[in-house]
Symmetry: C2
Subunit: 256 residues, 2 copies
């Protein structure tokens, strides 16, 4: 169960990671390349380390899965899933659309999610069964039942690999497609300004935090097969502000 203690910790984690992100944003820091060819900086590493320390102190039996420092107690019933800076490429380009992503996954299902933008100091908090809050005030997705009227976002057209033709079909079916924005696009979908975000090649630390935020704002989020997201999802994600739009987007994506 998610209680005040878990929410309080999630907020403290976001505070700690955000402070570190602000300290290094637009400062001359080295950018290293990881084995998966994605960039990483001292800001990513320090921010995740700070969050892990806080979790160990408060809930030492909980598991932790982080982008930069790996997995601890990964078979625990509760696992904190951390992306200290989702959108490191935006971070190093000086563009404040990156975010701190924090999820609590219980028996495989994300039950708490935080999307935090440390520069604009915007924070979205989603908890299973509760309304999603942005800086404490409820947010809601907007209605859009027609693909032809929908605005679609993805971080990059180059994230789809063999699914590129599927994404191109969807692009042809919607009103407008825009790129960039990382996790910030999901937050704007939760707020009712974007109708669809469709991405691929995401890892659990990229998508677990999104699920409670989107669901608690009245939207729907699933993998491309329509299944609920969990630690074992394949990283292909559809988020829809209007839940009736999700199967329509899926139908275009999976059309043979």
């Amino acid at each position: 169960m998610i209680g005040a203690a878990e929410i309080d910790l999630a907020e403290r984690l976001a505070d700690a990671a955000g402070e570190i992100a602000r300290k290094y944003f637009r400062q001359p820091i080295a950018v290293d390349t990881k084995p998966d060819r994605t960039p990483v900086t001292i800001a990513d590493r320090e921010a995740e380390a700070a969050m892990r320390t806080l979790i160990e102190l408060r809930f030492p039996n909980d598991g932790i899965l982080g982008e930069e420092h790996g997995t601890a107690r990964g078979d625990a019933a509760r696992v904190w899933v951390l992306d200290p800076i989702d959108g490191t490429r935006s971070f190093i380009a000086g563009i404040p659309l990156f975010g701190v992503l924090i999820a609590l996954v219980e028996n495989g299902a994300p039950v708490l999610g935080v999307i935090d933008q440390p520069i604009s100091r915007e924070r979205w908090l989603g908890v299973a069964g509760q309304k999603t809050l942005k800086n404490g005030a409820p947010v809601r997705t907007r209605a859009c039942a027609d693909l032809a009227l929908a605005t679609l976002y993805a971080t990059s057209p180059d994230m789809f690999g063999a699914d590129q033709p599927a994404f191109e079909r969807l692009k042809g079916a919607v009103k407008a497609t825009r790129f960039g924005a990382d996790c910030y696009a999901y937050a704007q979908l939760a707020g009712g300004f974007i109708d669809l975000v469709v991405e691929a090649d995401l890892k659990p630390y990229d998508y677990c935090a999104l699920a409670p935020v989107i669901a608690g704002a009245g939207g729907a989020i699933a993998d491309w097969q329509g299944k609920k997201l969990g630690l074992k999802s394949d990283g292909r994600i559809i988020a829809a502000g209007d839940p009736t739009l999700l199967p329509k987007a899926r139908a275009v994506l999976i059309k043979a």
Copy 2:
């Protein structure tokens, strides 16, 4: 000549447009589609109208070319070139990377440029022969003489039309390519966080303001033929933080 009166007016224009943009940002406003199929809102129209009124009061003989309300005295020696909200698509998606763009063009050459982001309250001011200022403090581009180490931005992969293969060649030659960001990418290039911005299909109100900002920060900006930007440019733009990178990018773009 650009004097204190012109700079003062440019700042007042940005203040006025920014106030209107803030008033409508993330509010439920109608989105109309213009004949060129781009979106427009009351925020674009009101912000440009406010700027035009201020110009008429202060310099009634100057020309005005605006995205939303057309051209007045377009053959004047001095023309103010206005984009009240560059990145209307970002604006209506709740993403604060849009900007107010203001240029003063003298005998065809941009001699003053403002890029203003009304939500983050960041303003870049470029004046011919002077150092570019961000919120009053000088900014500088970074050195990057090697295409293979460069970070490239463009607003969308879909803006290139028949030049798509040229852009794809450049993408293959740089270290990393990212999309989104509108005028904000040029501002980050001026600040030393991005190496190249290459775009196409831009109008004078999209690119005139960028030229003095980039040049005054130590960068270079030109069309794909390497020519300086003016009111008659064809809308294909290269901006390079390191001036030595510009001909290298051009060589890849124009290779047969």
